[in-house]
Symmetry: C2
Subunit: 394 residues, 2 copies
C-alpha cells in the first residue's frame, strides 16, 4: 500500500501514532505507545506498540539532510522510496531475511515496516562476543538469492533494464564513490585517523600500484550493472539473534557489481575477526568461510535451476562468473577495510577499543590486509586463504 | 524544438510536406517536392525539397513494426526519440560528424533533420571502390569524442546516471543480444547461411572455447554501462564523401561498453578489406589502423584535458582503460564478423559477390577471422597485428 501526503513534514510522536493506526492493523481503540529509537543522523525511527496485544510496528522517515561528524548536508528524500522498493524486491526472493514493508508514503519519505526490535544489530552483538550461528548461512543465502535473481542470469532483459533504471540512485552512489573509492586513497579532508597512523597512511597514499587497483575497482562500481545490490551491507545493516537474520537499510541499493555486497559483508566480518583471538576468532573466520561457501553453493543451484541465459550450459561460464564475483569481492573488501579505518565513517569494532596501542595495532593490520586484498585479489586461491591472511596480519 | 501530435499515424507525402513547412524555414510559398526514399523496412524517410532555393530537409518516421526477410514484428516507436536524443547528445561533441536535428514529434515518432543526400552510404561507396580519405580519422574522432565525453571520465556522476537511465533501450538492445551475441553461436532458426558453409558453421557451434568467450562478451554488453554508444556503428550507418563524414541512425543507442562501437566499425571495414586485394586492400587496412590510431590519440588528449576523474593522473590507469577498450573491440568485432556471415542480417560486401566459390571462400575467411579475434583478443598486441591477420586469413 502506498499513500502520498501533500507535503513533507517531520513526523512527531503524535503524527507517527496516527499514521501507525492507518497503516497497521492495531486493535481498535488500542492505547498505543511511541518512542523515537533512531540515531537521528539520517532518519527518524518511531516504534509504535500496543502493550496489551503485544503488536508493534516501525515507522521510518528519511530526513532531508545527513548529519555526519557534526556536519549537515542535504540528502535526497527519494532514498526512502529506493529503500522500501529494494526491501520489497529482495523480499520476493528472501521473505524470511528482510523486514516486511506494510506501506510507504513517498511525500513523507516514510516506510511502515515490521518491528525487529527483538533482534540486535549484528555489529553490536558480535562486539559483545555473540556467535550468531545462523549469520553466515543466512547472509550467504541472502546474497545468492537477491543478487542472482535480479541479474541477467534470471531476469528477462526488459525487466532487468526497467529495474536498473528505476533503481538509479546517483546521490547515494556518489557517497560510496567518494568515501569508499576515492577520498581514502588521497590526502582528502574527509579522512579521519589517529596521528599514530600517519606513517602507514602516507605509505598507502604513495602506493602507486594500490592507487591503480583502486581506480579499477571504482570503475567497476561506476559501470558494472550486474544485479540489484543492497549497496551498504555491513554488520550494522543486519539484525540478528541466534535463530534469525534480517537485512535492513538498503537505501544505497542500485544496479552494480555483485562482488560489492559480498565484499562489504566479508570486510566487516574481518574487522571483527581482527579484534578476536583463538577460538573466538575461529567463530568469526568460520562465518567468513561459510558466507562464501553458502553463496557459491546457492548461486550454483540457482544458476542450474532458475537460469534463463542461453549460455547457461556453456562449459566454464558459471565458474568464470563466480570467479569474477570472488575477485571483485576481495577487492571491494579491501577498499572497505581501508576506508573504515582511515576514511570518514569508522567501525565500532576498532574505534571502540580503548587501549590506544592495541587499537592502533589492529588498525594497521586492517590497512595492510586491505592493501593485500586489493593487490593480490587476482592470486588469492580461495576463501580459506583469506582467513589465513587474517592470522598473518599480526 | 519538440512538438507532440495527438496520435500516431503514418506520414503521407502531403502530411510530410505540411510538417516540413512547420519545422524548417522554407521560403514562404515555396513549391515543395517530396519523395519517400527509405527502404521501408523500419522507417519512412521523406525528403522534402524546394528546387528554387535549393533547400531541403529529411523527415524520418519510425514504423511500429520491423520487416526483416519477409517477417514483421512489432518494434517500439520510442526508438525515434532515442535516436534523435542520441544525435543531439553526440552532436554536442561532434557537431560536424552527425546530422543536425531540427525538431522531433514523440507521438508521430518523427525526427526532422538535416538532408545528407549529397553524400553516399559508406558501405555502398566502399563496395564501389571509393577510398574516402577522411573516413577513419573522422570516425576515430567521432568514437573518441562521443564515448569519452559521455563516460564517467568526463561527466559528473549525476549527469551520467541520468543519461544512462534516459537511454535505457531494452527492445533494441535485445535485438543485439539475440542477433549478435546469441543466435549465431547456436543452431537457431534466425541464422541464415549457404549450405556450403554448413561444415564451418557446425565447427563453430561445437567450439566450446569460442562459446565461453561469446558468453563473456555478451555479459559485458549486458552489464557494462561505460558510455553512450551509437549501438549499431557499421558502414551502412555512415554517410560519406571525400571530404565529409556523418554518422546516422543511432536508434540502438544505450549505455554500454566503449569497445562495442569501436569493434563494430572495425569489423565492417574488415569485411570490405577481405573483398579487396593489393593496394586496394591497403586503402581499407589503413582505415582500420587509422581508426584505432585516431581514437587512441584523441581519447588520450581528452583524458588529459577534459578528464574529471580523481584517479586521472594515476600511473597506468589511462593505459588500462585504453587496453580494455582495445580487447573488448576485438572481441565485439569478432562477434560482428560471425553474425553478419551466418546470422540473420548480412552485409552486401560479401553477399553481393556473385561468384559462388569466391563468396563462400571470403565468408569462411570472415568466420575464421571472427573466431580468431574473439579467442585471441587478450594476446593481439596492436591494431597492426589485426590487419596482418586479414592477410593471413587467405
Amino acid at each position: 500500500m502506498a499513500t502520498a501526503s501533500k507535503q513533507y513534514e517531520e513526523l512527531t510522536v503524535e503524527s507517527a501514532v496516527a499514521l501507525a493506526r492507518t497503516h497497521y492493523p492495531f486493535p481498535e481503540g488500542a492505547a498505543l505507545e511511541c518512542d523515537e529509537i533512531g540515531d537521528g543522523n539520517l532518519n527518524y525511527v518511531f516504534r509504535v506498540a500496543d502493550p496489551e496485544s503485544g503488536k508493534s510496528v516501525i515507522l521510518k522517515q528519511a530526513l532531508p539532510y545527513a548529519k555526519v561528524v557534526g556536519e549537515s548536508w542535504p540528502l535526497t528524500l527519494q532514498r526512502a522510496q529506493i529503500e522500501a522498493d529494494a526491501l520489497r524486491k529482495h523480499g520476493e526472493f528472501v521473505p524470511n531475511l528482510v523486514p516486511t514493508v506494510y506501506a510507504t508514503d513517498a511525500v513523507l519519505a516514510l516506510t511502515v515496516m515490521e518491528d525487529l526490535s527483538h533482534l540486535t544489530i549484528a555489529r553490536e552483538g558480535l562486539i559483545a562476543g555473540k556467535a550468531y550461528p545462523q549469520l553466515s548461512t543466512d547472509i550467504g543465502e541472502y546474497l545468492a538469492r537477491t543478487l542472482f535473481q535480479t541479474s541477467d542470469f534470471a531476469l528477462h532483459p526488459f525487466e532487468k533494464k526497467e529495474l536498473a533504471a528505476a533503481f538509479s540512485n546517483p546521490e547515494l552512489c556518489k557517497i560510496t564513490e567518494d568515501l569508499i573509492f576515492t577520498d581514502p586513497f588521497f590526502d582528502n579532508e574527509t579522512n579521519d585517523f589517529e596521528p599514530e597512523l600517519k606513517e602507514a597512511v602516507e605509505a598507502l597514499w604513495a602506493n602507486k600500484a594500490l592507487q591503480l587497483e583502486a581506480a579499477k575497482l571504482k570503475f567497476s562500481f561506476l559501470t558494472e550493472a550486474e544485479a540489484l545490490l543492497h549497496g551498504d551491507l555491513h554488520t550494522g545493516s543486519i539484525f540478528a539473534s541466534d535463530s534469525e537474520t534480517k537485512v535492513i537499510d538498503p537505501e544505497f541499493a542500485y544496479y552494480g557489481p555483485i562482488g560489492f555486497d559480498v565484499g562489504l559483508f566479508l570486510a566487516n566480518l574481518i574487522f571483527q575477526s581482527l579484534t578476536r583471538n583463538g577460538d573466538q576468532r575461529n567463530v568469526v573466520n568460520s562465518h567468513i568461510e561459510r558466507t562464501w561457501e553458502t553463496f557459491e553453493a546457492r548461486f550454483t543451484d540457482l544458476w542450474k535451476n532458475k537460469g534463463i541465459e542461453a549460455f547457461q550450459q556453456t562449459d566454464g561460464y558459471r565458474e568464470f562468473i563466480i570467479e569474477k564475483i570472488f575477485r571483485d569481492a576481495l577487492g571491494f573488501a579491501g577498499c572497505e577495510l581501508i576506508r573504515r579505518t582511515i576514511g570518514l565513517a569508522h567501525v565500532k569494532d576498532l574505534d571502540g577499543i580503548e587501549d590506544d596501542s592495541r587499537r592502533i595495532e589492529l588498525k594497521e593490520q586492517a590497512l595492510h590486509l586491505g592493501e593485500k586484498l586489493i593487490l593480490q585479489r587476482a592470486e588469492v586461491k580461495s576463501i580459506y586463504e583469506v582467513t589465513a591472511l587474517i592470522g598473518e596480519a599480526e
